[in-house]
């Protein structure tokens, strides 16, 4: 598995898009810090960008990599290598290279600014951790979709829809339901609904960490009420881990049954 990981990782590292992704975060970090001069504001702005962008890039790279490397995969399948190792290796290769672009791209400007002297260091680390988790989650989801749909166009379309669903549509439906069922107690429903959206979970986790109640929103407030700040963070982090693990198990199960 490590060898597959190595090849996928270096394959992506040689690709132009990894550099563009890295340079985007690098310039974003510098611009935010020089315009703002305030680390905590910069972290909040970054939060909103990371919550939308890492899932999108993870989905796109995941699905594109799978379809583009089908030949390579077929070559590997005839070699004495365990099936699940091929796909898990590729998954880790993509996720790690994307995470590296994120961590280095944002880490360099913040280091240059002196994040280690600042009190916000842990907020910043939480942010990077969440970006990494979201990358892993959405690459895994993209791999699942790619394994289901052999048709490239179909798989690609559904992957984009999945991202759109979690990033935008989910919240929309949620808000409409809240408005419609205004008269009923919705706390438990809101809690339950949050669990099923990794982007919402990440938002709550980081806002609990930042301790800005104005940004918590309804679900965040319910979350904080229900679990308290520190337990709420552990709980949401645990759920995010599940969001990584379950799609990974699904990749292993699906790949075992698939014909190539």
């Amino acid at each position: 598995m490590l060898k597959i990981l190595k090849y996928s990782f270096f394959d992506l590292m040689r690709s132009r898009w990894s550099y563009i992704y890295f340079l985007f975060y690098l310039s974003l970090g510098f611009i935010l810090l020089f315009l703002n001069q305030d680390v905590s504001k910069a972290v909040i702005t970054l939060l909103n960008i990371i919550l939308v962008l890492t899932p999108l890039i993870g989905t796109l790279f995941g699905i594109m990599y799978y379809y583009n490397s089908r030949e390579f995969t077929a070559l590997l399948l005839a070699q004495p290598i365990k099936r699940s190792n091929i796909f898990l290796g590729q998954f880790l290769g993509i996720s790690l290279s994307l995470s590296l672009s994120l961590v280095l791209g944002l880490g360099i400007p913040f280091l240059a600014y002196g994040i280690f002297q600042s009190t916000e260091i842990f907020d910043f680390f939480t942010l990077l951790l969440i970006g990494t988790m979201l990358t892993f989650i959405f690459v895994a989801l993209a791999f699942n979709l790619a394994l289901i749909f052999d048709d490239k166009i179909k798989g690609f379309g559904i992957a984009i829809l999945t991202w759109l669903f979690f990033a935008v549509i989910y919240d929309g439906i949620f808000l409409i339901l809240m408005l419609v069922f205004d008269d009923y107690p919705l706390d438990n429903f809101a809690l339950g609904a949050t669990i099923f959206n990794p982007i919402d979970l990440s938002r709550i986790l980081i806002i609990l960490k930042l301790d800005i109640s104005a940004l918590l929103g309804y679900t965040g407030a319910v979350f904080q009420n229900f679990f308290g700040t520190s337990f709420g963070m552990i709980f949401s982090f645990g759920l995010l881990l599940l969001w990584v693990v379950i799609p990974l198990i699904m990749i292993v199960v699906k790949s075992r049954k698939k014909d190539f």
Partner: protein, 235 residues
């Protein structure tokens, strides 16, 4: 070496293999023949574990292969279509395969035999079909495995390369290996096969030597014997 029992495979609504029972003994060249879409490649891919059968079992050296992967150490496989990662150089591909599967032996001799030196620094996506097939052949034969599976090995090869390939197959046979080949080139079949298996509509229509097939169909050359079977099946 390989024992196949009651193998069934469906792709969606299309049933490709309808109960294959086969036994490939050690040593010798076995040719799998059959019209397009008769299930040759599916059968081969089942042996490799790339296609998971709906029903039936395959044993390799006495062990069931379902979910296993170590047994592929003993197989060299030449896929039908030479699909390689497009932006890798030929040299890099060889290096990568060597890294993923240690134990390659005569890589440089094979590269010389198929005159691939000028292409080593070219990208795989820019190779012609025949050259890509030569790369494919080098990758297959550079491992010293007891079982060699060749799916349409002659596609796109020029006459010189074809002679080299036949020589290679003979050499490997001389080492006491088992070789499975699918092809549509009847002259090649007559030249090298010890035994042929004829697939028709996902079933085994005939298994035996070329002489037996000629006798059974009452024809005096292989091509017309095969044509005889096919016309019979279309009618």
């Amino acid at each position: 070496m390989i024992i196949i029992k009651d193998l069934h495979k469906k792709f969606g609504k299309v049933t490709v293999l309808k109960g294959i029972n086969l036994d490939f003994p050690d040593k010798g060249i076995h040719t799998i023949l059959g019209p397009n879409g008769s299930g040759k490649t599916t059968l081969i891919k089942s042996i490799l574990g790339m296609v998971i059968p709906n029903h039936g079992s395959i044993e390799f050296n006495g062990k069931k292969i379902l979910g296993e992967w170590e047994y592929r150490n003993e197989i060299s496989y030449l896929p039908q279509i030479a699909n390689f990662p497009q932006n890798l150089k030929v040299k890099e591909l060889f290096k990568m395969i060597n890294d993923l599967r240690p134990g390659a032996k005569n890589e440089s001799e094979l590269i010389a035999a198929f005159q691939l030196e000028p292409y080593l620094n070219k990208k795989l996506g820019n190779l012609s079909g025949g050259t890509a097939q030569k790369v494919n052949i080098v990758i297959t034969f550079m491992f010293d495995s007891p079982l060699i599976i060749l799916d349409e090995p002659t596609v796109g090869l020029d006459p010189v390369a074809l002679i080299r390939l036949k020589k290679l197959i003979h050499e490997e046979k001389g080492k006491g290996k088992t070789i499975l080949i699918t092809t549509h080139i009847m002259s090649l079949v007559e030249e090298i096969s010890d035994e042929i298996v004829f697939l028709l509509d996902g079933k085994i229509y005939f298994k035996g030597t070329i002489d037996q097939l000629k006798q059974q169909t009452d024809q005096d050359n292989l091509e017309s014997a095969i044509a005889n079977i096919l016309e019979g099946s279309y009618a």
